[in-house]
Symmetry: D2
Subunit: 319 residues, 4 copies
């Protein structure tokens, strides 16, 4: 039933105009480009989709655009990211109303609690939207809670969770989770949020991946997934090596860290490649400028991609 969520499901990066509005034209270009590349689904309003930066109105605008543009060609997972249960449930109901194929929620954050609260949180969300597949988003770097494998599998067996998007960067736990999930009859679809060690996750038995970098270059991830399905590990490794080289766009900017460097580099690369019109970032983050744009351009050229715009043009695309 959740097999439709296997494969490459990029977390959708949201294009903005220089004024900070949703850039619908760039959005169409980007989503169509990923679908044409053969992705198996799309995940909107994930961490790299700037969900935390978007007002409720903006979130609705993003979902509506994605649903309209995708138009059923691939399943759409929608991030319902907020601090605690009742706020998440509001997003979940809206996502359902707008046609989401599945929703994705993290552990509660901001307030301190324990695993009893985490478990009850997911159960209450599921009760509120019982027909909608619910993915747990394991992202301790943002929510400061690591979801334990035994809890995830238990919630899978109980029909609460349909899957997990694992962005914990804990590949040891992920392998044990894959194993526990298999022993339990595979109730969970397990997706890795990794970008440069997806090959290892596939060897471990992941059902798919959610790589932010696929916004920049989806074809490599699609080829890697197909090769993994075919057991052609040499190709998997080759594709991963190339994508890891491309991922260096996020390590070359200087003087900026976190979201501004990571998603900032994705948007910059997409602007350089002509997919986005600007590399505008949501407040309070500033877009990459000057030498940082040049550094991203340098990586793109090094891995063999062709620029549609000059670094100067991209630097000038925002205020």
């Amino acid at each position: 039933m959740t097999e439709k969520f296997h494969g490459v499901i990029p977390p959708v990066v949201t294009p903005l105009t220089a004024d900070g509005e949703v850039d619908v034209v760039s959005f169409e270009r980007s989503l169509n480009r990923m679908i044409d590349a053969g992705v198996d689904g799309l995940f909107t309003l994930g961490s790299s989709g700037e969900v935390a930066f978007s007002t409720d109105k903006r979130r609705r605008e993003i979902i509506e655009n994605v649903m309209r543009i995708v138009d059923g060609r691939v399943p759409v997972l929608v991030g319902c990211i907020d601090t605690e249960t009742n706020r998440v449930i509001e997003h979940a109901k809206e996502a359902k109303e707008l046609g989401a194929s599945a929703i994705v929620a993290t552990a509660p954050f901001y307030a301190l609690g324990g695993m009893a609260e985490v478990e009850r949180h997911f159960r209450l969300i599921h009760e509120a939207v019982p027909d909608l597949p619910l993915f747990a988003y394991d992202i301790p770097v943002c929510v400061h809670t690591k979801l334990p494998g035994n809890l995830l599998v238990k919630l899978g067996k109980d029909g609460v969770l349909a899957g997990v998007k694992d962005s914990s960067n804990d590949d040891v736990s992920f392998r044990f989770l894959v194993d526990d999930n298999n022993k339990a009859g595979h109730p969970l679809t397990l997706l890795t949020g990794q970008e440069v060690v997806v090959d290892g996750a596939y060897m471990a038995g992941a059902d798919g991946s959610v790589p932010g970098l696929a916004n920049v270059e989806a074809t490599g991830y699609v080829r890697m997934w197909k090769a993994a399905q075919a057991g052609d590990w040499a190709t998997v490794k080759k594709e991963q090596d190339w994508l890891a080289a491309l991922m260096r766009i996020v390590t070359v900017p200087s003087g900026v860290a976190g979201f501004g460097a990571g998603v900032g580099a994705f948007k910059t690369a997409m602007a350089l490649l002509g997919v986005f019109d600007t590399n505008q970032m949501p407040d309070p983050v500033c877009p990459l400028k000057g030498e940082n744009v040049e550094a991203v351009a340098g990586v793109l050229k090094e891995v063999g991609l062709t620029l549609a715009k000059s670094p100067q043009e991209v630097s000038d695309s925002t205020k």
Copy 2:
């Protein structure tokens, strides 16, 4: 100009019915009790005011109730707590519309960033509601960023921040902050969020305190503040010792941690004292029950408070 925010300004705990609705009758009882005790202000929708658990509709409902009940008797600070700038600004505008005397905002959370984003975040909030005094809420245990003293003082001198609510539990940094603020001409009103070491904060030069425990017992905090103003440190110490003994209500519950133990104990104590009708907690947190309620009752009796309800009655007040 911000002297009206000096003194004891409790973060308001929100009473719920057994069904999870705002309990207006208990709310009136509690707020009036604190005002009658002589508090200098109230801070609604802080962390212990369950801001993170409340939907936007619920937040509005809480603010409206507080403003109506307080009716100008003391200033009301309103917490505008959300992940990133634009979401916070929405809350800030609503708080302004509803009559807040000041607003309180944390550093951005969920997405990773650096100090450049933190600074720009506060500047953008201030630009959006320039007339409303803005307090920075330094609470690294929730937002995982410690606000540096030099940034706070700089934003104070620039007229961006009116004050700081320090819940960092870093008394060394707080003392240096007090000193730096004095050297800069005291642009910031500095409030400690401590409960059991408020005496030390007053010796360090705090302009007031924001103790959650004052929901249970405001009179002691009012006496302590007056004694500190008078330089009567022996009384300050005596009151703090008694309040520290009372604060043990948050350490006696077992099998529960974080918000469920802390605010859970506050609500339980207030129910035992007849201030709240129930000790109901917001989802996904469960209220204290059975032995944990008895343990809280034991602390109340030990420090000499008279129970209005039995532990059994309080246990039975929720489902």
Copy 3:
């Protein structure tokens, strides 16, 4: 020059008698068993070799035993683990005197510092024993510092470091490190300290592995390495899956955490397999007993290994 450190280099677990003395007979059995299985080297006095628990006299005793038993059949790396530079240098000089093939040192720990101190630390160690290859041991879970890839490669190019033992559980950084090292002409031998995601590390380009679990079962790791060298990734995956199932010995004990669960399970498994005479642990850690020994035995049987001793006998092997 450092190619002799490629391949499978288990961190040697130290057998103790029930009285806490080094168990020389078990030590011979274990080391010979790993060498017969085809390991490419041995790393003594690593974290799982109980270096932190051993007095200087005990450390010397362990090194002497290892050197005597190994007798030049494979290279021996010696852990020189201590808080700060001068203490590490003492261990390094002793390791050299006792015939170590290479030494392994972590970043400084206990005192707080920055990257300038880390860099100078490694440079001073190298100056003290310039002829001995020096490996950096990246183990933030113990020393609370993550060694940055650019610093490691710089120290490699400068001839300070011969290699890295990566126990950071940060596979993303490791892949970038491999790439940076290759771009710099491969000055560093890069060994992963992983146990259940070694397949991914090999795909990323690791020069070898240092898996504690190889003390229990070296043959699987040797087969995995040979398959990786041959590009036979299907076999790599198969061996890793089996070893990951075996690694569950460290997750089944209850009521114990950290070293007591991890190395405690290794020693228990080795006792059950007849390699060690006891599963004695160094003070203040207690050996696994009763149901925890049975749980470890259950995992061994599940993956098809044959027990030489009953769980009861192993429980009785210590006081």
Copy 4:
């Protein structure tokens, strides 16, 4: 019985020559100066006494010098800081042999474990040197374990611990510890390791303090302790405010963090005041130089202290 450990007990900073040897002449000057100022004891080989940087031979040399110079005038506590139990016991036996009045040990560090190991660790140390009062050193910033109050009081009641040196910077826990200790009949002598919020610790009921800054200026801490004993809190506050201003020597250096900034500033101040001949630091830490020495000098002058040497002379005192 442990009342002799009440009051001001500075952690002794160790003077080095420019060649990194123990500077005996400066050591005599500094220890005599503190004893003349009226301190109640001395604590050698604490964190700021560079215990982690000192080889075993160097540690012995430091203890011998301290014992000889102090010559029974005040009690001497000796830090026995090492990773795990057996290594600590070696130091403890040596400290006893050299005439220590008491020893001080942290929780185990480097290897991961739980509270069972922490408790057994302190019990085994006490068993090894049963006649020597044992202080627990609660310093999570270095050892990454916070000692729980209930464990400390339990070990106090069992006669294992004589006291606690609290460097946890968690004043809330400290106040609860004081209270629990009083309820248990005061088995533990409770010393705060704070420097700028000692006033608060005294109001909370601390039995004394262990301020590193007292190496620079002991007289203020002695006056503060006497005032606290007399209940003269206005004087306590006045002295603390002045000492907090002096403590700014550790925040003014730039480009250096942790031990190099903290103890680096202490040594620099002591050199400027003519107490130490150099501000030499132990490897791999570099001494403060140039503008950082000037910044420290500026603070000293600002609080009214007279320099015996120029910043240039102190900069030139090391290589």
